[in-house]
């Protein structure tokens, strides 16, 4: 593999380079595989091993990657093991209650110092030669140190490699790049929208048990751009069976009409690459019965909180609806009432659908691991949480009736990206709403009110292109 990306005499930090970024071994500039003029993306991006190697460097080593939720490791000594790109890490709760993310690789000979998915222990002992590391990754001891090393072992420099750690709504994010902007900046104004589902009550969210994990034979970008792009469009066809199952007495026309109605809402996109789909809540008919109006845009006769209490957001018990006042601004609470986040993503590889959060972690160019968490409101009654969990399992994750059909598309697209003709073909993103939103809307970023189109997916690809060029959006 000949890469012009990293000549030995140039700095190894990609974002210190000028210009157009990597050139692949056949002379193609990587940025040209995302055609900004035509709004098309080359299928080659899914199957080219050179591109994949560059992604591990440019994206997974430079961007904030979600690996866990704080509630998975509540007590000192609790840990889970995860991957960031292809690098295994330990996410551990330290002695001060802080969270440390260490590369799961002994600084002595490269062995994994932790070989389980989770657990509770005071330290990590490498099974190979016995070096022991603390929860914070510091090297705390080695066997027979005087006999073996005399005085030459420089313990302070031999801790496990540490990643930067930051949390949002308890979700633990990791970044290997000291120069990356903080998580808060990485999320930017997009967190205004994420708050509506994940940070809307004083108790916040918690994770239910351990995440599901499974493997699909597809490039990690295929699910990532789909979730991030919100891609309302695919729901009507790929997930048509849901409408059929839920409306057993409806005829073909009624099912088509129902699936079309679901495509109207407001997509959100961010210049930082994030995107989601919001929908006028299913509770709108209920709301209309209460207020006689279709939309909540004249708040004088019913306060936002009153309306939210009558029509609680998805996965929030009605008697907790008032709590949003403690965490959300008035504008956010109204946003939740008008357009509730339904599904979306966080650049580069997180996807979500209400309480279900995924990461798509690469396992080589042609496979990824889906890790699927279920989040519930921590202060909700146990019975309510259990109902939420079961209902999310029905739709998403390994057995989810929605996600099953996505699993049919993604490997087939990957298969097509391998052919010499197929990989020259394009994915197309030419349907745009443009910037359009309700009057007085307080959320930032870009709002795309109307039929769900390509705006958010395209935002993901533009951010991808910028990272791969060596910059940041």
């Amino acid at each position: 593999m000949t890469l012009i990306d990293r000549p030995a005499d140039r700095p190894s930090r990609p974002d210190q380079r000028d210009g157009d970024g990597p050139v692949l071994s056949d002379g193609t500039r990587l940025i040209d595989l995302v055609d900004v003029e035509r709004r098309e993306v080359s299928m080659r991006l899914f199957s080219d091993p050179e591109v994949y190697e560059l992604e591990l460097e440019h994206l997974f080593a430079r961007s904030w990657i979600m690996v866990a939720h704080e509630s998975e490791i509540p007590d000192v000594g609790d840990f889970v093991t995860r991957n960031v790109g292809e690098d295994p890490v330990i996410v551990a709760r330290g002695r001060e209650g802080d969270i440390h993310v260490s590369l799961n690789m002994c600084t002595h000979r490269g062995m994994q110092v932790c070989r389980t998915d989770d657990g509770t222990q005071p330290s990590f002992k490498c099974p190979y030669h016995g070096w022991v590391f603390g929860l914070d990754g510091n090297l705390v001891g080695t066997p027979f140190e005087r006999d073996m090393y005399g005085g030459v072992l420089d313990r302070p420099s031999l801790g496990l490699r540490q990643a930067r750690v930051a949390t949002y709504a308890g979700m633990v994010f990791v970044n290997w790049d000291d120069d990356a902007p903080p998580l808060e900046e990485f999320l930017g104004g997009y967190s205004w929208y994420l708050d509506l589902i994940y940070d809307r009550t004083p108790g916040g969210i918690e994770c239910v048990g351990s995440p599901q994990r499974w493997v699909m034979d597809a490039n990690w970008k295929i699910p990532s751009e789909q979730f991030n792009g919100a891609d309302g469009y695919h729901v009507a066809t790929l997930h048509r069976s849901l409408f059929e199952a839920m409306l057993p007495d409806a005829d073909v026309g009624e099912i088509t009409a129902a699936s079309r109605r679901g495509l109207f809402g407001m997509d959100i996109s961010s210049d930082l690459g994030h995107g989601m789909r919001t929908i006028a809540p299913a509770r709108r008919p209920v709301f209309r019965n209460v207020t006689g109006r279709d939309r909540f845009d004249e708040p004088e006769d019913l306060s936002t909180l009153e309306a939210l209490r009558l029509n609680p957001p998805t996965n929030l018990p009605a008697d907790m609806a008032d709590q949003v006042a403690a965490k959300l601004t008035d504008g956010q609470a109204r946003g939740l009432l008008m357009y509730e986040p339904a599904a979306g993503g966080l650049f580069p590889n997180l996807g979500f659908a209400s309480g279900n959060v995924h990461t798509h972690m690469p396992l080589g160019v042609g496979a990824f691991e889906m890790r699927s968490w279920i989040f519930v409101e921590k202060d909700a009654p146990a019975e309510f949480k259990e109902t939420v969990r079961k209902s999310l399992l029905q739709s998403f994750g390994t057995s989810g009736t929605i996600e099953q059909d996505d699993a049919e598309c993604w490997p087939a697209m990957q298969r097509n990206a391998r052919g010499v003709i197929g990989r020259r073909e394009k994915m197309r993103y030419q349907a745009f709403v443009g910037d359009r939103g309700p009057d007085g809307w307080e959320g930032g970023e870009h709002t795309h009110e109307g039929f769900s189109k390509d705006d958010s997916a395209w935002a993901w690809w533009l951010a991808y292109r910028e990272y791969m060029r060596g910059g940041r959006p």
Binding site: M216, S241, E244, I374, K390, Q404
Partner: protein, 216 residues
Amino acid sequence: MGLVVGVPGVHARRPAVTATDSARTAAAVTDDDRPGFEGAVLEARPGQVESGSRLHNQVLDFLIAEARLLDHNHYTRWLGLLADDLRYRMPVRRTVRRREGLGYDPTMTHFDDDHASMSLRIRRLAGDNAWSEDPPSRTRRFVSNVQVFTTDAPDEVEVESYLLLTRSAKDDTHFDLVPAERHDLLRRAPVGFTIARRTIYIDQTRVGTPNFAIFL
């Protein structure tokens, strides 16, 4: 080491159980929802029905017939084998140290269904737009190691069995494998049994098939 289920050179995934350490193992396995794991000893367990007896044969015939229905894509007929008070679960598994037990998560599952939700799944699959199983994957369910136990209810038996599910789709030359242990509560029906409870303990922590649009 006593009776260890495992592959040479690979860590046994189940605790080594011997007469002397079975008590310790039982103490480590704390999830009450895993009946039977504590007692994998050579002696017959209380209520165990002898292999080759009429009841054991009836259960075996039922499990084989059930596997055949699913392998031949007769989902709707399979739904008819499920009791109205069905509880159908498949816990998520994690890799943990041996002293911590088998690693089945006490709360998170791949499936957690009742009869209504299972009916919805099957109604969906029966339509023309359930792409994940149309064209269907090809599955085969190999049922073995069947143990039957009587219960306090005269018309109900507990059954533990091993299942090896093979799955391939389209041009696959390889097979996805889903090895599992199943713990069932079967109830006498006019013909055969109905399944009132099934818990599926899969071997994999990271599932090696793209979805569970299939049933185990």
